[in-house]
Amino acid sequence: MEETDEKAPSVIDRYYTRWYKTDMKGKSCEDHCVLQHSNRICVITLAETHPVLRKGSKIKSINYRISDGCSRLNNKVSGKSKRGGQFLTEFAPLCRITCTDNVEYTIFSCIRGRLLEVNEDIIMSPDLLLEKPSTEGYIAVILPKLEESKRVTNSLLTREQYEEVVSKRTTQQPQPC
């Protein structure tokens, strides 16, 4: 019974490719994971090694207002072509997560593309992010430009490369995050 559990490929396994950005902006262990669907849509999530998930403390708040003038909550898209969505570059902040230890983490876009939606559910229920970081606890959905859809993941790591980075960390630094 446990076997079926482990063997069956999940929805993510079947339709998405996992890409990773490690040590985002030089900050140790702040790893992001981008799930790219075969239709080019990308879901931004926290990698399982991100300190927010690793250190075991609770989340105090999640804030999509990234500056005085700009809130990701105001993002609206209309029509098939998703007009009006905010256009993001790799290092565009999506939200800030403050943990109960008062440490604040910024989550970034990781790829160029148009913001389609952010996950408002995690604002009210931050535990979703801790419990199901790669599904219901996603951060945002981004649509890369059609002509860039193959290139947007160029600077990201594959699952294998990511695992390699993570295993080196554990051997080199006894207490990573």
Binding site: M1, T4, D5, V11, R40, D121, T135, E136, L143
Partner: protein, 526 residues
Amino acid sequence: MLSLKEKDRPIVRKLLDAGCCARCVLRFCCVGKYASYQNSCQDINKELLAFLSQADSGQSHDASGQDQADNPPCKKMKLESVRAGEEASAEPPALEAQPDAQPATCVTCLGVLQDFCHQSFVTQVCEVVKKGGYQFDSLLLAVSLPAQLSVREHSCWLHIKKELREKSMCVDKEDVVQVKDAFKWAIQALVGRELGASMLFNSAFEVSIGFTHAETDGDCHFLATACSDCFKPAKNKASVFTRMAVVKALEKISDEEFLRQYPCPPARPATKCTPLETTCLHSSVFIAGRYNKFSRELPQTPWVIDGERRMEGSVEELIAAPLLSSFRADAFNFSSSGREDVDVRTLGNGRPFAMELVNPHRVRHTKAEVRQLQETINASSDKIRVRDLQIVTREAMGRMKEGEEEKTKSYSALIWTKKAITKADLDVIGNIKELKIDQKTPLRVLHRRPLAVRQRTIHSMSASYLDTHHFTLLLRTQAGTYIKEFVHGDFGRTKPNLGGLMETEADILELDVESVDVDWPPAVPE
């Protein structure tokens, strides 16, 4: 006879003087008798001259005394000018000057009603039609003329309008027979005889004859400055001077402005119109039915990513191939009541579909032939099966799309759950009725559909246990419900979802459409 009235006489004279051909003269006299246009140019011309000379000799004819009294005193003068042309040809060469020689090209129709109304051109057109290999017993003639003909027509109308006003006669521009109609009246009997078909204005088979006249292309250009708002560049048009735009501009421009910018009557062209290639088009035939799809590796329509095909074949191609060859159609357009994913089977009574066959060359099919086609489709592959195949009307096809949102669909799904299933879990599911769910546009289709939250109803569900982590779920839902997303939740974007209802993680391994409850097309008895 030409059925011209006394009051037409000055108009006839003026038009001939201006360089109009005989058929154009009849048009401006509003002669509505088809047969009048079917005589040869020369014969009509002779009759017109005879008609004029009647007046010259002072004879009375079908005209009343009143008409006589209406004749202006200047009539003699006009006639003299015609005569002068006849004798000396010093005047612009009028038609009647050389009744037997090749007449000059008409200033109004640019030769359409002169050189293309006889047997040799008709034979040329009919050869093209015959080569097309169409099956038809009636046809519709469509004629397209260069836009500048409207300008010339307007100029000529203004030319005789002055005359008509003097004589206080009440004729509208709309009463003038159009070049297009005169052309059809002149040739349709010949075409009909040659092709053995009747002429019907609503025939499904259309033969298009077109003309161009490069020399006078510039006739329209002055309108662009006079009525610039009528000429907006369109992506799909080669020139802004479309016939519709020119007609619109002519309605707007004042007579004074027109006369300032354009000669009245129109100037003599050096060449006549050139005929375009004759084209044939049969209106579409629509064929409908229901299909089953038994394969999880067959898409409904060709699946192309980045210009590359992902899977062999498709439902629409399997159905279309025998139809295209039997109806000898150029192309097809497939539509259906919803669609299933490549890995979803459609069982039960099947999914209603309709197919438009574009430009079919062979239309007539008996019920037996259609049934034979169905058998041919079914024999061609074991991945699909078609039933209720029938020819339908375009209007009836709408019935298929009408009910798309309101109708119900039934599905059967193989479900996996993370936690071990208890009988109580399955009972909970079976007791849920008329469950309203909110579905955000699934991520898997979000790249080509607008982002929205849609409320859908799961009418009922029932579950049957397979093993500790698997069960079969039967669902009856509102059409348009995304079943896969209802099961796995799509990143929590469908709420509630099956995983949430069962307080575990759920996934869908297989999906079959069991029925599409649309009562169209009607069943065809075997």
